[in-house]
Symmetry: C2
Subunit: 310 residues, 2 copies
């Protein structure tokens, strides 16, 4: 992805989104012996980093979006983000969400004024329904991870880290389709060669890890994970090729480790993270991140903790 | 309080504590129509602003503290903060905590290596036990709110706001004994005359509000509130006299309003705040803060949400 696209993305979204804070995580540092910092994407409007690619995608083709409306498919966080950005920009939004998506996320997407179209629970069902709707309606399609505009929007996290980080550290990010991983790697790889860039996935969905190991994109098929934001069963073409070139390693975490990280963040760091948003912290707590200093991206906070810890 | 004390406090604590972020609170702004920002003291080590006065108090008289040990009384957050700062600075800590204090806070204080001495549940029991122990042991006594060092430590919140805030806004802070209110008012009143400085208390404990209305310090006697950090039944002498001179208004919030604010912060802003830490947000949500722009200080996050919302 052309570095110009990244800079343009940052300028485009700046009037709508403030940089998110990078905070020292004292309790996490004490517990792990690694100097830990957290990048709080959970503080974004709609509670996840997905507003970055949503605004970048819509603003890249705003007249078209306003004339034709926008369409996307999402496990829940991109849905809310597109609904929010569309409302802010006067665009009509239709969003395809799986019947397996958390009710919390569906309700919130509807509350933001988007039309939600339900589809079957498989990863493929979302794409089939979305393709069909795109043909029928002619709406502008935004991809949740596998387009240059989305990767560039995600990359603005990395551009902010360049301003916020003193030197070379380990940067760990949650991985589903790989948009954030690819974007952060694009922003940091050349500019900060001392940084190690690590993707983290639930072991239940090791789609990017297995693809990188195989040297080609692997579809892992059906699985379940508490990390309902990390359900892409296969990385994107663009995100896979960028990850191959730019990423240092992929790390896997177990379901209990993810839940322990969510609990640690709430009790010790006073932050609400959803399971998918906490996997990088889970990797740190499990001792699976290299180096003496780490940044973990908290990618989202869309969960009701009471429902998780009944 | 001499402005020099405030600047000295800031310099003293700087090697130990980073400034806390001031973040845009999108969901809160949308809900209230007021541009809302949150000052996240919940992200401090030990999860509350109290590490500021704890470090300032100990560092002001460090050789004495190291030779004699330190003693304080606390409803729970100052306890953890003094235990933490004492451990960092090689000081032995004894802390008087009421039998009414949340177990969560007692456990954490012990886990930080402090000796916890239990006393009766009344506000007065804490002072009697503390005075007796001070006579017996000769330890350095740190006051949780009513000393120049504590007010100056609390005031560093206001000094950071001077750097972080563009202009004159409403600044709302939780009030128990009035240390943070007095400190923030000292830092902002002269430097930023366009700011309105508002204290917020649970209606169940309107000690500062009633004292200001009466023109003298009032002890409100026994009460119960979910805000277990805001249990001082009477303001301090110093904090009362500073509040009289420097504070614009006191606002009261009901118990259900406090719980609604805790829930809103968790679900919509992805932040864990304890009830006492959320009262400024409760006032904003209840429409009780003046002005079009508000900063609410989230003073602490020491609570298990699962226990609060069973």
């Amino acid at each position: 992805v052309d570095p110009t696209l990244l800079r343009e993305a940052r300028e485009r979204i700046a009037p709508y989104l403030s940089p998110t804070p990078l905070v020292d995580a004292h309790a996490l540092s004490r517990r792990t012996g690694v100097r830990a910092r957290l990048k709080l994407e959970s503080l974004q409007p709609t509670g996840s980093f997905k507003v970055r690619p949503a605004f970048n995608g819509l603003l890249s083709r705003l007249p078209e979006a306003q004339a034709r409306g926008v369409l996307c498919s999402s496990s829940g966080n991109f849905a809310q983000a597109v609904a929010f950005a569309a409302r802010e920009l006067g665009v009509s939004a239709t969003i395809v969400m799986s019947s397996a998506t958390s009710k919390f996320k569906v309700e919130r997407t509807r509350a933001l004024g988007a039309e939600v179209v339900s589809c079957g629970p498989r990863f493929e069902d979302r794409w089939e329904t979305t393709r069909r709707l795109q043909e029928e309606t002619g709406r502008l399609l935004l991809h949740p991870f596998d387009s240059p505009e989305t990767v560039a929007g995600d990359a603005t996290i990395g551009l902010e880290l360049l301003d916020q980080l003193p030197g070379g550290v380990t940067v760990a990010v949650p991985v589903s389709g790989g948009g954030m991983l690819a974007g952060v790697a694009c922003a940091l790889r050349a500019a900060r060669p001392g940084c190690r860039i690590i993707g983290v996935q639930p072991r239940a969905n090791a789609s990017m890890a297995r693809s990188l190991a195989a040297g080609e994109r692997v579809n892992v098929g059906a699985f379940t994970t508490v990390a309902d934001a990390l359900v892409a069963a296969m990385p994107g073409e663009l995100t896979f090729s960028l990850a191959r070139k730019l990423v240092d390693d992929l790390v896997l975490v177990d379901e209990e480790e993810i839940l322990a990280a969510v609990r640690f963040l709430a009790e010790e760091q006073k932050l609400v993270a959803e399971p998918g948003g906490a996997v990088a912290v889970a990797a740190l707590l499990a001792g699976r991140l290299p180096g003496r200093e780490a940044v973990c991206v908290i990618s989202g906070g869309n969960v009701r903790l009471g429902e998780l810890f009944r």
